[in-house]
């Protein structure tokens, strides 16, 4: 975002803290959301890894289902679908948030 | 000024039309370029002039109309666009040099990969063309290491290497720093003297007045007026032409003087 913003803020008499609070952070958040939404999606998917610890999240449950129904392909594919929907929805929500708080014509290079 | 009697027509554009998003960019445009001619296209900024050039070398497909190269219709569906483009050179406003190749590489790649020339022969020819545009010393430099004027001259050499029937120039100096414009115009003047057929879109009025055989004023997708420089600049037939040129002359007053003086070499 540039040190220029801080300089400009201070030139109208803001203290550093005020500058960070009213000028820097509001802009920084808007810039950070697109890459952050990648992170959010990744975390949703990585939740599957707690399977290794025996935590009964989606993947573990899918395994139970597959063991009980002898339909592993179906069970795990449905699990995949659920994850896909979760990441998709997460991305969509973040897209909407991004658009809502977007500063008009702000472009990140 | 060359005599135009019984000269061969290299490029003929007949009733060319092109729309972009519902807007008429080119409206029934017709144009003839004779062998050895230098035709300069002027007009307000907008994509009409660039579009015209891109239709001529078939990079853009026109909506209707016919284009002929050496009397062969190149707008027919059977035409191989790639082949046609071997014979029509194009020089772009933003140079568009291949960044991963040296100046030599840029000029020789068309020879080796398109015309199938042998590496050593291609290298020879490429060096010759680069020397022709005054860059014999820079053959092994990359575009990133060259100035704007040098880049554009490499671009011209790249086109020349293919021995084209005609070279299309799309505002070749518009992206250059003022000091570097001269070296490119110098090369272009040289080509005019050597008899290369050229179709040039430019804002450089001094250059146009000096070397053009004919000037074509295009606005809103149509030809407003065309004629030899003396006519167009000093006694234009259409009021709009007079208006446009007057405004340009104001803005480019310096340029006109520069090119008049600059020729005392």
């Amino acid at each position: 975002m540039g040190s220029g913003q801080m300089v400009a803020a201070r030139s109208i008499g803001m203290s550093r803290i005020k500058a960070i609070r009213h000028i820097i952070l509001p802009q920084a958040i808007r810039i950070a959301i697109p890459p952050w939404s990648n992170e959010a999606a990744t975390v949703v998917k990585d939740s599957s890894l707690v399977y290794a610890l025996g935590v009964a999240e989606i993947l573990r449950r899918a395994q139970f289902v597959s063991a009980r129904t002898y339909e592993p392909f179906l069970a795990f594919s449905i699990a995949a679908l659920i994850y896909f929907v979760l990441t998709f929805v997460t991305n969509r929500i973040l897209d909407k948030v991004e658009r809502r708080i977007e500063i008009p014509t702000t472009q990140v290079a | 000024m060359k005599s135009v009697i019984l000269e061969k027509i290299i490029i003929e554009v007949i009733n060319l039309s092109k729309q972009y998003g519902g807007k008429d960019v080119l409206k029934d445009i017709s144009l003839k370029v004779y062998e050895g001619d230098t035709v300069v296209i002027i007009g307000p900024s907008g994509t009409g002039k660039s579009t015209l050039l891109r239709c001529i070398n078939l990079l853009t497909k026109p909506d209707s109309g016919i284009i002929k190269l050496d009397d062969i219709e190149i707008t027919s569906p059977e035409t191989n666009g790639d082949e046609v483009r071997q014979h029509i050179g194009m020089v772009f406003q933003d140079f568009l040099l291949f960044n991963h190749l040296t100046a030599l590489g840029n000029v020789s790649i068309g020879l080796t990969k398109v015309l199938g020339m042998r590496e050593d022969k291609a290298k020879e020819k490429a060096i010759k063309e680069l020397e022709r545009v005054g860059l014999g010393e820079n053959v092994d430099q990359y575009p990133g290491q060259l100035s704007g004027g040098q880049k554009q001259r490499v671009a011209i050499a790249r086109s020349l290497a293919m021995d084209p029937r005609v070279i299309l120039f799309d505002e070749p100096t518009s992206a250059l720093d003022p000091e570097l414009i001269g070296e490119v115009l110098e090369v272009m003047r040289m080509l005019v003297k050597e008899g290369m057929t050229m179709l040039v879109v430019t804002h450089e009025m001094g250059f146009a007045r000096e070397v053009a055989d004919r000037i074509v004023f295009i606005e809103n997708g149509g030809v407003v007026e065309e004629g030899p420089p003396n006519e167009l600049f000093y006694s234009p037939k259409v009021e709009r032409t007079r208006e446009f040129l007057w405004k340009i002359a104001e803005l480019y007053g310096q340029n006109q003087e520069r090119s008049i003086d600059g020729d005392d070499q």
Binding site: K45, S47, A52, S77, A79 | N57, Q86, L96, Y142
Partner: protein
């Protein structure tokens, strides 16, 4: 807490065996993934309607679902259809497909960063689209993509650890085995973490070298200039 050093020394041969498998998995996944990724990226940028749709579909599917789930579908699920892959084979297939999807996005970014002007310039000297892609676009794309793409080998190396859950004897699997044998879970896992770290460091050095070697003179991205 320093048991890890002991374990590292005592069980070195086992760790090496596991590391070899991990490296194999990474290389195969990276290599085949590169081919898949490149084809998908080209398909997505230059392809017709259906080619584009298939490319996007593949990319979204494999980036939008966890790698572990993909692994389970291939190893546990495919036998339903009579297609049985061994553990190793399943791991290779899934890692390649998964990496391919991510690499496709890196390649696509690079190709688009080069700009349509290059394609136009190439065609203006008579090159066909294919020749232009081969001699003008791709050579530049490969150079430009290196900084971003270098995330992928590292990412893949770390992600490959999940295959231990289908009992592939990689480095992670060794950690589990040795933890059980020595009753020192912390020590074992720390030892393995250190080996992974060492591999990543070596990988990073190699990638940095490649980046410097294949720079196009005069054309550097901001990141490369530092």
């Amino acid at each position: 807490m320093t048991e890890w050093m002991q374990i590292l020394v005592n069980y070195w041969p086992e760790f090496v065996r596991g590391a070899k498998i991990t490296i194999q998995l990474t290389l195969v996944g990276l290599g085949f993934g590169a081919i898949l990724g490149l084809l998908s990226a080209l398909g997505r940028v230059y392809g017709g309607k259906w080619v584009r749709r298939i490319s996007v579909g593949y990319i979204e599917l494999f980036r939008g679902t966890p790698i572990l789930v993909q692994l389970f579908i291939v190893y546990f699920g495919f036998p339903d259809f009579g297609i049985t892959f061994s553990r190793m084979m399943s791991a290779f297939i899934v890692l390649a497909l998964n990496s391919g999807a991510y690499q496709a996005e890196y390649f696509r970014g690079a190709i688009q960063a080069i700009g349509s002007g290059q394609m136009m310039a190439a065609r203006s000297i008579g090159m066909s689209r294919i020749k232009a892609i081969r001699y003008i676009i791709l050579p530049q794309a490969f150079r430009i993509v290196i900084p971003a793409w270098s995330n992928e080998p590292i990412s893949l190396l770390k992600a490959s650890a999940v295959v231990f859950l289908i009992a592939v004897p990689d480095l992670m699997a060794q950690a589990k085995t040795i933890a059980a044998r020595t009753f020192e879970p912390i020590g074992s896992y720390i030892a393995v973490a250190i080996i992974y770290l060492a591999m990543v460091i070596v990988l990073t050095m190699i990638l940095n070298f490649l980046e410097r070697r294949y720079k196009i003179p005069g054309l550097e991205t901001e990141a490369q200039r530092t």
